[in-house]
């Protein structure tokens, strides 16, 4: 009755999926924050408006 293969699939893809997506987001955010910090340190002028 219950499709156990589907259950395992949803469970597995869910646990892994959330961790992977959040992990990937973390890495990309960390890289972009490093880049921003690098630029902000380079452009030490008072008018560093970009956005």
């Amino acid at each position: 009755m219950t499709d156990w293969n589907k259950v395992i699939e949803v469970f597995g893809s869910g646990v892994l999926g959330v961790l992977l997506i959040m992990g990937f987001l973390m890495i990309l955010l960390q890289i972009s924050f490093k880049v921003i910090e690098y630029f902000e340190r380079c452009i030490e002028k008072p008018t560093s408006e970009k956005a």
Partner: protein, 372 residues
């Protein structure tokens, strides 16, 4: 003369009352009591309670398809998925993602707590729910009302009332549910860990955050788009600092307006015929279970991360991955300062707390992709 009176009685709702309606009145009165006297999430429970009360007055046809007033609110607001994303727009304009930006590692804690959702999903299936019902029960553990309603209306609309009410009720009970689990799973020494200062965050970082997050999350998990796009647009409004009027409109008027219709419409799904069903009790039990397991999985994730980190984090902040903002963060702070009075975890706990909001949306998106 007698005929007129008889007509009046027969056409009134009174003769059509069922015992079930009376029970639902009691449910509504209980919610009024919790909202007004105990102040448990009154902004949500009061309209929900009133929704329950009015749909359990017979012959009003408020939820009659294509005619009832509340049915239109429900149909266009919830069924067509308009209201939960609008609530998220307002939340985005309110939430300060600063602590998360300062320490992006907390995103993993926000993800860790979502493991609890899937454990609950599994448990619900063992108890005899079908896959879609189990998913909409599991998501309760995310402690996120709009996401619970969003997923529930798509996968198991007949249980929407129960899942939404249990999400909101347990969110209010976080200060009671979480501390015992936190003490059980951490040692005194771990609770004493101090986390120092939070890295300062520049304005540009705060502006870039919603843009990158929206892009990545939507590219990787497209079904998350309605919720995450609105959340991040609201946050971009806030952090850009140039559209204060839009920020204020989103975070005050708009969110207040849609909260009214969301609560009323969710409450109105709870007619006696739908709600008085032994499964509903199970939903409430599993909802509590979901909160507990999510708290535990967040804590364990933090302990797991400590195995690799040079500068240890206090594992308590993992519990804040349950995204009840800011109740879970407050709770972490309290338990942390009980172990070490110089431990100020509040801001550190806000990181996983807001990451949990994103994590819950991602978890919901994966459920939708697999089951929708």
């Amino acid at each position: 003369m007698f005929r007129i009176l008889e007509d009046l009685v027969l056409s009134s709702g009174l003769v059509n009352l069922t015992p079930g309606n009376l029970v639902m009145w009691l449910v509504a009165f209980t919610l009024f009591y919790l909202a007004i006297k105990k102040q448990y999430e009154p902004l949500l429970l009061l309209p929900i309670g009133f929704g329950i009360l009015i749909v359990n007055l017979p012959l009003t046809f408020l939820m009659e398809p294509e005619q009832g007033l509340v049915w239109f609110f429900y149909h266009y607001g919830i069924e067509k998925d308009i209201i939960p994303p609008l609530v998220f727009l307002g939340l985005g304009a309110m939430i300060d993602f600063g602590p998360l930006i300062a320490n992006p590692k907390t995103l993993l804690l926000g993800a860790g707590a979502q493991v609890g959702l899937y454990v609950t999903f599994f448990a619900a299936i063992l108890l005899g729910f079908d896959l879609k019902e189990a998913a909409s029960i599991g998501i309760i553990g995310g402690a996120d009302g709009p996401t619970t309603i969003y997923l529930g209306s798509k996968l198991a609309p007949h249980m929407l009332g129960a899942t939404a009410v249990s999400a909101y009720a347990y969110m209010a009970l976080v200060p009671i549910i979480q501390p015992p689990i936190m003490r059980l799973l951490t040692t005194e020494a771990e609770r004493k860990i101090e986390m120092g200062k939070i890295r300062p965050v520049s304005r540009l970082q705060k502006i870039v955050f919603p843009i990158i997050t929206a892009m990545i999350v939507m590219l990787l998990a497209p079904p998350s788009a309605p919720l995450i796009s609105m959340l991040m647009m609201g946050n971009l409004f806030k952090e850009s600092g140039v559209v204060e009027r839009l920020t204020n409109a989103s975070s005050n008027e708009l969110i207040n307006i849609v909260t009214i219709f969301q609560g009323l419409a969710v409450g109105a799904t709870m007619t006696a015929a739908v709600f008085l069903n032994p499964k509903v009790l199970l939903v409430f039990c599993l909802g509590l279970f979901a909160f507990c397991v999510s708290t535990a999985s967040g804590l364990l994730m933090a302990k797991f991360m400590n195995l690799f980190l040079k500068v240890k984090i206090n594992p308590l902040i993992g519990a804040a991955g349950v995204s009840a903002v800011p109740m879970a963060a407050r709770c972490v702070h309290k338990v942390g300062s009980e172990a070490n009075r110089r431990n100020y975890l509040l801001m550190h706990a806000m990181g996983p707390n807001v990451a949990g909001v994103i994590g819950t949306v991602v978890a919901a998106a994966i459920f939708l992709k697999n089951l929708g």
